[in-house]
Symmetry: D3
Subunit: 281 residues, 6 copies
């Protein structure tokens, strides 16, 4: 399974989210109505079919509000579940369960939504060579979690930031003067453990690139036909990646072009949340 | 216009987002290829019709990367723009523009998406009494910005957290024993500047509530017909709010029931990003 | 009882306070003299009559210094205690008890002082309609704790910040041009869960206000006679709040005017600390 | 004059205080009523006689809210002013002045209160050898500012934390077994730039101490007569410090005992705020 | 030249370092002796031959203490300088120059030390194929700066963390059961933009590795003779890296084995600081 | 033994260091290869003779990554160990041990290196009056830990920052106009618990200083002969400290001059790390 983001990364995010709700002291409604010693049981359920992602993050929300809340997972991140499925069971102080509920669900719904959308694309390209990957078009502050959700959905991750891999785009090439100049500048300066990908928009550019020492090529906004031609041209010398406006209706045709990777920005910026809810037992 | 979130709140969010990209030192590609003294001009454009929200946040991304980048806005938050519209023009060090580009666009696309979806609902209920409002179903960490985007789209804000207003829900009522017991507990404990809303699911519950000193009632998952009946029952004594699975196809009918408020969770958790792009001049 | 501020809010405040004492490494005196394995018992005692507030915060100070310190409370926040009363008993590593002592007492003395002063005012208005409430004149950084201490003393809380309720003051009215203009501007822009209060200084202003949709009126610096007249004029249509230079000698007369609320800034900015001490057994 | 706390220390404190007011986005009242381009002039005035402390901190509050606010000081920290005196004049965006007002005044009133109380004690001991100093009984989080306010009032600072000087108290002595054992333990472990003071309660203890290599003695809870005897016994070999329940009515007699220092905890934990106000011109 | 770490990364590090010096309020000595309006000129000089690294970080120290300090660099990061060379000239408030001096020099001396040591190794392998690179054996908290200093010295960077590239070590292989199993596990899980290196200690392991899809091999603790053999075996199919106890006396022989990379941990954990000083003009 | 830095100080430093390795989510290699439920045993060993410092910091690294890792120390900070000695044994989840390994060793090697170098100097001056102390020439961000490591090596600490003791240097004297003027300025402004030291370069300056109320003199860059003369001149009236370019070959001669203290900057900025390693059992 996809490795979870480390708690050292998760906890500050959950803490920040909880403080959006209780910065003036606490949960006015719950603190006024629910006795401090009242305990409750609850279930987290999916209201739609989907793929699970984010249960450890939801668990962190409850435990940060009150370490005595116990959450037992009934599904695993990465698992497909049907509408009505129980994802986790909770037992503990009623106040904490109610106070943390929305934060836990906000994370969970968002990440399950991404995993679910990813899985749909992954299923659509089953049997081809293509892997679905995400981009840096992520929700500000949540990149680590969203990249994890993509992995839960069966997808892969493109680079994490501007600092761990090179992607030479049109603007870089324009300023450098040529693909060659851009690649040489990069080669001369970045470390040997950094992969280099270059974006091209035409087969001519692709041919220029094939003479240069790079690891991958991003074939931007090409039709399946063009992609097939490009893949043939590359002939295994580089990883090939298709991107640009690909959705569930087009992804299969793209994949059948033979590309290695299909990157999809909307997975992380526009996938709708999965409807998840907390039900007090 | 909607008041912008204060820079003291915006800057830490943008800083966090930028560090997702450059925590290992900087932008490997840009730093390797683009000379440090190279300047550039660029435009931020909308690729689809929409409503603008987040230009000050985008501007913060550029200025945090390099204070010498100048961004002149060509549209205002809250304004409707057509596909192709220029939202802002940039001039400054080329490196900074390229390094900040994605962070700026990630904020802007997300917030414009929320404003655009909000505006569609607001337009759909034009001429009725109803106001479209958002909920606490927000993206963790971004609530202040998302609530602002809703305002840019012509919507209103429900409470900001668990700490600034009371919303008594079914679970509270169940534990308290009755609506009356719950309301009395709240009345006895919260300050005089805190409004109190209670969620009901039936007209019987509504009638029980009408005898109590609260400010608003949340009519959850009622049909337009039920809502009309409820509004008549309330007869102006409380603010009435409809919620539960309302979308663009159903919102008009809900509004025509006469409710004061329609709350829509998906505005902030599932509105797709607006497609915005940066073009180097 | 008053709900305690959430530990997620308390811990950073206590951590900051502890670091004022040990940022260069630790407690020079204690670390040099007391063996690391030495244990001690101690009591926290009140040296004056007062009302308790802040025991959970004091407990946090000890547990952050060393989780092995056990603190058993012998009084509850909100309880009246006499001089000499034991508030809590401690057992654990002697170093931790001595190192955390001053921080724990600084919080406790400060908060008990506020609760004690609040309780005196609350007692003085017993039998009237009036509730004693605090203001935003709080010690920077400690607002959440101080508002809690006021609740421990039997008082109520006014708004928590500039962001959770509206209070239209003279300067706002002057710039808006009129009370009506100010109220209309607010009505048009703030959410439906936000209460609105307006400050007036004369009965004429009050009459102007009574025609407008607001929730409360702040009657600033009025004599008890004027207040009585104002309360009669309002006749239950709004919450009435008196403020301005009210102290223990005048609060009863103010309360007998019939106002709903009496707000007192000095509770949080000038109440003297209660003398509390730690005694090693 | 007293050196101001460095802006690197002041800014985080002011930022935290401002966020207590605007964490949900901004100042609801001001943002709704005051146009963004409206400018205003204002004065900060003292409503009582006092000693000024904290103007740079107040200025930071305004500039953090909006760097365009200009604050011209009309008095200096450490200066005595009469009721009605103008401490500073402000000009800038009206919104920022109103939003920052309370935070600025909360700092200023608190610090002026400490400076004013300190000055009263300092004046009361004029002509004696004694210096008024503060303790570690400070408001959590504000120690650096409060110690500065004491200096503004003409007082001196005792140690800043547990980490910059040694103060051996009764509990340390009890655990060490004797004053000698405690002092030897400290001498063996702390650096050569650290001063050592020991608290004694009797003349016998004082005599035991005089044979040991320490820098100062804290004479706790002694009467003026006992203090005079102690000072004679010490005969200049150590700094002598009196402490314990000293107030304006008793400080002169204490000072005339000949002690070098008089430490007063209530200066920083219980001095009432000075009444300062902001008046829009 | 090597791209500087972004100011968003540098400023928090410098701020933290400054606070080690002034957390109790400021610079006691300077604030007491130097008038606030006194200005000074100063030079930063190298007292030994070396390679410069860290001038922008030093500049940040001065400007964070007082934005009015102007620092004009007289050398560039990456430049070789002789003993006595002026690296920068400063003009501004004397207090700020003296208060920031030590922090600025601590960064500068440390980073110049690393650059100088790196340059010595780089020079020693001149004319060979080998590049000198650093490791993750860095000083906690300073990795971004130290990796930059290595680049200033003409070296290259290995991976920045555990999160941007894969290095399979002996322990991983032992637990996985075989090199093949370890590589397959990695291949199946990490993104396509992540390079993979495997550590081997014998030629047999190397041969096993050559059948697998990896990018680089780390030849650990091999003699120059073994390295030469290994390089021949690899024959350009992978990047080859030598590591293990390599110093200035042995690096040339290692380089002449034909390896592509020589990684040296002590560059970042044990290079002595370059002696740099600030001289008031 | 030397008191350890408080965990409240250590944990943020270790957290920061760990995040240098896993900010993008985790340890790519380990997470891909090692099953989450795999446990391991390991030993931390010294590969060279040295003095131990930093085991609690190393333990913090493991426990922050996973609280289930158990580390049993087999040596104590401050203890001399021979090459091959086991410093600690670890048992717990294999992933956590591998992920935390480098951070733990980076701290440990650095601090042991400082302790080892300190101990060498301390041993070299055995039998003399001199104590070896460190300076403010520390690695930015690590001062508290490095000062502790010096204590582990048997050395003492000079002042911790610019805020806990006074050291009047040549630049201060130059601006003040004379040693007397500088000392008087300091005396008038700093608290009574602050020690004052003055740097002199000649015997004439020393004589000028001896008439003034200071605690220590820093004899900068004097030969052993000059130091002996200076010590005679001082004749016990002040603490005497030698500094300036002192190393293992010269320290004994310096100590035999009779000075009380020998301060050595390179202990904290240039001591090479001790070679420590983690071996999986």
């Amino acid at each position: 399974m996809a490795a979870e983001p480390h708690p050292l990364l998760v906890e500050p995010l959950v803490r920040t989210a909880l403080l959006e709700d209780i910065a003036h002291g606490g949960d006015l409604t719950t603190d006024a109505i629910i006795p401090g010693d009242r305990r409750a049981r609850a279930r987290i359920v999916a209201r739609r079919d989907g793929v699970v992602a984010g249960l450890p993050i939801a668990a962190t929300a409850f435990s940060l509000v009150d370490a005595r809340v116990r959450m037992d997972v009934r599904a695993a991140d990465g698992e497909r579940v049907g509408a009505g499925a129980t994802l986790a069971e909770l037992e503990g102080p009623a106040r904490a369960i109610l106070t943390a509920e929305r934060t836990a669900l906000n994370f969970l719904g968002h990440l399950c939504g991404i995993a679910t959308a990813t899985r749909a694309l992954v299923d659509a390209v089953a049997g081809t060579n293509a892997r679905i990957v995400c981009t840096r078009k992520t929700t500000p502050g949540l990149r680590v979690l969203e990249k994890y959700a993509v992995r839960c959905g069966g997808g892969g991750n493109h680079r994490f930031g501007l600092d761990d891999a090179v992607l030479v785009k049109d603007n870089h090439i324009a300023i450098a003067g040529s693909i060659r100049a851009a690649v040489e500048a990069v080669r001369a300066r970045v470390g040997h453990m950094v992969k280099i990908e270059v974006e091209v928009e035409t087969l001519d550019q692709l041919r220029e690139l094939l003479a240069l020492p790079v690891d991958a090529v991003l074939l931007d906004n090409m039709s399946p036909t063009q992609l097939k031609e490009a893949v043939a041209e590359v002939n295994g010398r580089l990883l090939t990646e298709a991107s640009g406006g690909i959705d569930l209706s087009t992804v299969r045709a793209v994949a059948e072009s033979g590309v290695d990777l299909i990157s999809v920005g909307w997975l992380t910026h526009s996938a709708p949340a999965l409807d998840v809810a907390l039900e007090i037992a």
